[in-house]
Symmetry: C2
Subunit: 209 residues, 2 copies
């Protein structure tokens, strides 16, 4: 949400892409729809791509989401090659509609250590995109914008506040309760809560317990 | 088919991935199933990913497949970022099953000029894959094998013959007739026919007219 709002603030027209990859936290998809409508995206595609066929992640497979805090290792919530798949699909759509600017809200400061959130991955992807597309070889390459890349979670919370965003619209939790409340204990909840606390701002998320 | 048979000849276990991306030449999917069974692949996943949501190609959209011969420009049969999307998904599955070797049958000699068939694209993808995956950052990077990369279509036909493959099993045509015959006039048919003719080998494909 913050990434898209920054794109809009910078004068970009918004085409939003959400991948329904079979994530267990389905509430994320509803959140995406609300945000796309709120930010007045010209189009919002929800593309089904059932990565449960591959499995191998706590987000798509029958593996428990860890609750013991953010550690040094890449956790089981890592979805193999997810951001590469997401960016590749975004690139495909961008080339069709004639867009040259892709925005993705990756962050590599307060994060879970996912390799596909790091700037070196993003830079390499941009080069691969240039070499692998008609637009790229015709000298009209794509720019991958990562406005949150170097922000702490505190700074992202402050940015959301500055942009006047309703943080209750966005979703972070990997393991919501059956009632649709955020668990408050997965990595994603912990990192989010830390950010809002440090910023001294209210988090619109409804947490369990 | 030739690429997979070469992988098998080199001692690799075969896990085959076919993407059902809404291609108009649906017969390709049936061909993939026959080949996977024939080559005794341990698994064959047919993953639905409906790229018709994006459109923009003669293979997925309501755009005529050109029949006027292979030209210098990238034709409208180009599907934006297709091989990047395919390779990204293959990478995701490979990481889950613990595979480190990906095979793709791209060819950049007798081809339609698609940017995502060129060796520089493949090399860049391999680097992006290394940077964007858990396996890659843990020092277990992926190898992208392109055994057909530098072959002419004639050499590919000869290779199929050497491997004892039934070329009637494979499919190239972008615009089959309603009866399921190859059109014989699209780029893909022309390049295939040229290869078999130059090799002096019979092409098992059934052509219209």
């Amino acid at each position: 949400m913050v990434s898209a709002a920054i794109a809009r603030e910078n004068g970009f027209r918004l085409f939003a892409l959400t991948i329904d990859y079979g994530q267990r936290h389905r509430v994320e998809l509803e959140s995406a729809k609300r945000i796309a409508a709120h930010l007045a995206c010209e189009r919002h595609e929800v593309l089904p791509l059932d990565l449960r066929a591959f499995g191998g992640s706590a987000l798509t497979d029958n593996i428990d989401v860890p609750k013991d805090g953010v550690g040094a290792d890449i956790p089981v919530t890592y979805v193999p090659a997810r951001n590469l798949v997401f960016l590749s699909l975004t690139l495909a759509w961008a080339e069709v509609v004639g867009a040259r600017d892709l925005f993705i809200g990756v962050n590599a400061l307060d994060y879970s250590g996912y390799p596909d959130c790091r700037p070196e991955f993003i830079a390499s992807f941009a080069e691969t995109a240039r070499l692998g597309t008609k637009a790229g070889v015709e000298g009209k390459p794509f720019t991958i914008h990562t406005p949150l890349q170097d922000m702490t979670k505190r700074q992202i919370a402050e940015e959301a506040n500055r942009l006047g965003l309703d943080t209750g619209m966005s979703w972070s939790c990997y393991d919501p309760t059956p009632e649709g409340l955020a668990c408050g204990t997965c990595d994603s909840c912990r990192l989010r809560q830390k950010g809002f606390e440090e910023a001294g701002l209210a988090d619109g998320t409804r947490y369990a317990g």
